[in-house]
Assembly symmetry: C2
DNA sequence: CCTACCGATCGGTAGG
DNA sequence: CCTACCGATCGGTAGG
């Protein structure tokens, strides 16, 4: 009996997942405090109270969202797939994979900003711990396969992944620049405005 | 008569300034949507309605805050003070001054994050325009003083100041890392957790 | 999972 | 600049 309903995810789990996904989109769009629980239930055509069958309060929804969708979650899969004859090659290889994974859903980097701004990073240690131990397992597999890699390599490797994340966050248009549909990045905006200014000045100076 | 009251700022202006300052602190601490207008007035021991003698709504308060305290505002003063025999030296000199100015109140960089996350960067063009034209004036002064500097220099210079801002934002502990009183940065946290993991593994491997 | 409902708090106004 | 007040909306609960 039970197996029949378990073949697919049971209904409750599916609803829960949909809540997390919808909440994620809304949080990314507006931030945490600017997203109301009503917006989430409206979009899913649920009663406002339906959330509380799955979560005990609004913050728990955000916790579920960030634990599932924080970009750090993609690190282990990039590590396990990575290859290379020495550390440098390995790092380059994993970085490439990771940037590709992040590039698929760049909006997710906004979750990190929300986490820092609206929760002061309180959820990060937990996420880090989980991601780190998963990554360490994966690295162990590679390490056993390749005698050149040692624990010093692992250290270098982890540092590289961290650096990569922060530089990704920094340069990412979605998280660091103005509006989504604003194609010109802040950098381009700066440059354009500057050039306009220079040209205006130049032509007025020539008079 | 009027001059007497004008010797110091009139009372209204002083209240307005205090509102902006207090609001700034609260926004930096909690973000925009998580800060209520009541928190602002409570801290100033004002009636809730007193805000609306100075601003027509909550967002106008934020606008005033970011226009006054956004880190970009410090760029012109760093430019005007800068010196150097060639572009490279000039850039290094101005960068140093700017980093010092930003370092005095590093929390202000959170305003940029709030602006991006909760307002989608809508206030930035206005701020940029003002700051840019002020900077251009200052640069013009330096340029007249130093024949080696040309418009190409100015272009390079502006790009450098932009790059500096973004790398400052990225590496700044206040804006990019967890809690204020959490002395270990995320980077250190990563590194520490990693080392712990490695040591644990090493000692268990040796058994 | 819904109906019905709640107290608290929100941003903001009227009128002085 | 304050007193008094407002409708709307917030997150959340009771009970089925």
């Amino acid at each position: 009996m039970k197996e029949i309903t378990d073949r697919k995810k049971n209904k409750g789990q599916k609803t829960r997942d949909k809540i997390i996904q919808t909440a994620c989109e809304l949080f990314i769009e507006n931030g945490y405090h600017a997203t109301s629980t009503r917006q989430i239930t409206d979009q899913l055509e649920l009663a406002p109270s339906a959330l509380y069958n799955h979560f005990s309060n609004k913050e728990e929804i955000f916790t579920a969202v960030i634990e599932k969708y924080h970009p750090w979650n993609r690190i282990p899969e990039a590590v396990v797939d990575a290859d290379g004859d020495d550390v440098e090659e390995l790092i380059r290889n994993a970085s490439k994979k990771l940037l590709k994974l992040w590039g698929e859903k760049p909006e997710m980097s906004r979750l990190h900003l929300i986490e820092m701004l609206e929760f002061k990073g309180g959820h990060l240690p937990g996420i880090f711990e989980r991601v780190f131990s998963k990554s360490a397992e994966s690295f162990q597999v590679i390490q056993n396969r390749n005698p050149k890699l040692n624990n010093i390599s692992q250290r270098l490797f982890v540092r590289a992944m961290i650096g990569l994340f922060f530089s990704y966050i920094m340069t990412d248009k979605v998280s660091m620049n103005s509006t989504e549909d604003d194609i010109t990045s802040d950098l381009d905006y700066f440059a354009d405005a500057y050039l306009q200014g220079v040209f205006a000045k130049e032509s007025s100076d020539r008079k």
